[in-house]
């Protein structure tokens, strides 16, 4: 049995006095795609932020066997953990190409992907390579954010709500893109509301409620669990 790539044990987090995460446990194996489902406000994004060092975590977080809880975010990133936040956070005044350059952690040790390869894969981005990223559409911004993170050669990417606010056709393409990234061997923790995408590409599903994991299983099993859907997901 191989070691999990990411192992989170009894993770707690607070916003002021409010206790947002109440003992989250989850595991991601190398190359695995995990969907983290749940209603708004149950702590999915906070889980991502606590793992990435943006919110102070309490509990144990092991990445490739190494404790990372409370490390500075650039150190966590340099261990091979990529993060695509919900806000997307592109650098709007810089060009698409410059955004991609900033994804490279060390210019002396370039990663698997070159900027040209990225632009070949996404003709939309190539067309706008020298335009300010701020003028891109929502879908293009999402693609750019994911490509930018890939430039840093992560072994695991946490992607938070990639399809929020996007048109259905674009949602499908973003789903394909995530599946493509997974096929290159990168593990993915996908925080998503849309079951269609999550169940199409995930190997395993976690459901969160009230700051903890309330269900874990395969997509096949999840499809049969109407009780879980009714209690924790449907509005």
């Amino acid at each position: 049995m191989t070691e999990p790539m990411l192992k989170v044990t009894d993770l707690h987090a607070f916003y002021g006095k409010s206790h947002v995460l109440r003992g989250v446990n989850l595991e991601i194996m190398p190359g695995e795609v995990i969907a983290l489902l749940g209603r708004n406000g149950v702590g999915r994004s906070t889980t991502a932020k606590a793992i990435m060092g943006e919110v102070a975590p309490k509990g144990e977080i092991l990445f490739k066997g190494q404790p990372i809880a409370g490390l500075e975010s650039h150190k966590i990133a340099r261990l091979g953990l990529g993060y695509v936040p919900e806000a997307r956070d592109i650098f709007p005044t810089m060009t698409v190409r410059q955004n991609l350059i900033l994804g490279v952690k060390n210019m002396r040790k370039p990663g698997k992907h070159s900027i040209d390869q990225m632009l070949d894969m996404f003709p939309n981005l190539r067309e706008r390579a020298d335009n300010p990223a701020g003028v891109l559409s929502g879908g293009e911004k999402q693609m750019l954010t994911m490509c930018r993170t890939l430039m840093g050669d992560p072994d695991l990417i946490i992607i938070d709500e990639p399809t929020e606010g996007l048109a259905p056709k674009i949602v499908h393409r973003i789903g394909d893109m995530i599946a493509d990234i997974a096929r290159t061997g990168v593990a993915i923790l996908l925080i998503e509301q849309k079951l269609s995408i999550a169940l199409r590409i995930a190997h395993r599903v976690y459901v969160m409620g009230h700051g903890e994991i309330v269900y874990s299983g395969t997509p096949e099993d999840f499809r049969t669990r109407d009780d879980i859907r009714a209690e924790w997901l449907e509005v």
Binding site: G53, E54, S73, G82, F91, K105, T149
Partner: protein
């Protein structure tokens, strides 16, 4: 005519000097979210360090090492002071820089005394370089212009043409995201603070010897630099540049005008014997930047080129 040409040349030189101070201040503002009240103190340190180094060696070594020394002190202030204070919020940061300004001033008084030191223009540059309309333009003024232009081009190249510059710009607007991409944001912030202080130090080195190098020079320069940053648009380098030149020219042109209110408004019956009539335009020079500040805050609170309001 010669008054105008001289006012223009001096205005541009003074404007670029202001930009040396305001560029650092505005970068540091983007990073901290508060104005650094101690910024002009680093300008003063630059002048005093240059005086000491020049006394022991030469002006040229002072020109190189005084700004570096000031930059290192700035970096240390960020690393061991501001970074710890930062977690307690903006008010604490503001008070910290306020206290620091007084601390630096008092230390300078203890070390160098309360009166001006004899920091002079190096003799090699102490001659009239060109004559304009029969009046001399000192070589040192031309030298200041060169140093300021070199600094301007260097800063522009660093920020716009290098990856390090891109990372700095991104870190100023999206620090969390830049950290998640694997860049050491605390180190970037320390570097930005250090560079900002070094630029202020450089301004002190080249200006301390034509103005006066004394412990009150920070207090005299500080307010005008704040005006530049606010008028330009807080956090905007381009705005700081435009505002620096604008204020530099405005002040020098006003000073160059000999007319009094009686000359201008004589048709209204104002005579030079009256109190209002005897006011000269040149005496308004120091008031203009602050008038501009007040007007900008009322009518264009985001400044000339800024994106956010104060």
């Amino acid at each position: 005519m010669e008054t105008i040409v001289f006012a223009l040349v001096n205005g541009v030189i003074y404007g670029l000097l202001l930009f040396m101070l305001s560029s650092g201040l505005t970068l540091i503002f983007s990073m901290m979210g508060v104005l650094n009240f101690a910024h002009a103190s680093f300008y003063m340190l630059g002048a005093f360090f240059a005086y000491t180094i020049m006394g022991a060696t030469s002006f040229w070594l002072a020109l190189i090492f005084a700004p570096i020394l000031v930059g290192l002190i700035g970096a240390a202030v960020e690393r061991y002071g501001l970074r710890r204070v930062h977690v307690n919020g903006h008010v604490a940061e503001l008070l910290f820089t306020f206290g620091l300004a007084y601390l630096i001033e008092e230390i300078v008084k203890i070390v160098y005394g309360k009166t001006a030191v004899n920091y002079r223009v190096p003799s090699i540059l102490d001659f009239p370089a060109v004559q304009i309309y029969g009046a001399d333009l000192p070589a040192y003024r031309i030298f200041m212009l060169f140093v300021a232009m070199a600094m301007l081009i260097g800063l522009w190249l660093l920020l716009r043409r290098t990856r390090a510059g891109l990372i700095i710009q991104a870190a100023l607007s999206h620090p969390h995201m830049v950290g998640h991409l694997g860049h050491n944001v605390p180190l970037i912030f320390m570097t930005v603070f250090g560079i900002g202080c070094a630029l202020a130090g450089l301004a002190g080195v080249i200006a301390g010897n034509i103005f006066v190098t004394d412990p009150s020079m920070a207090v005299q320069m500080g307010p005008i630099v704040f005006v530049v940053v606010v008028v330009g648009g807080i956090g905007s380098l381009e705005g700081a540049f435009v505002a620096s030149l604008l204020i530099g020219l405005l002040q020098n042109l006003a000073v160059g005008i000999n007319a009094s209110f009686a000359d201008i408004f004589g048709f209204l019956g104002l005579t030079s014997a009256s109190e209002v009539g005897s006011i000269t335009v040149s005496s308004l020079g120091p008031v203009l930047p602050f008038l501009l500040l007040v007007l900008i805050l009322i009518f264009r609170p985001q400044g000339l080129m800024g994106e956010r309001e104060l």
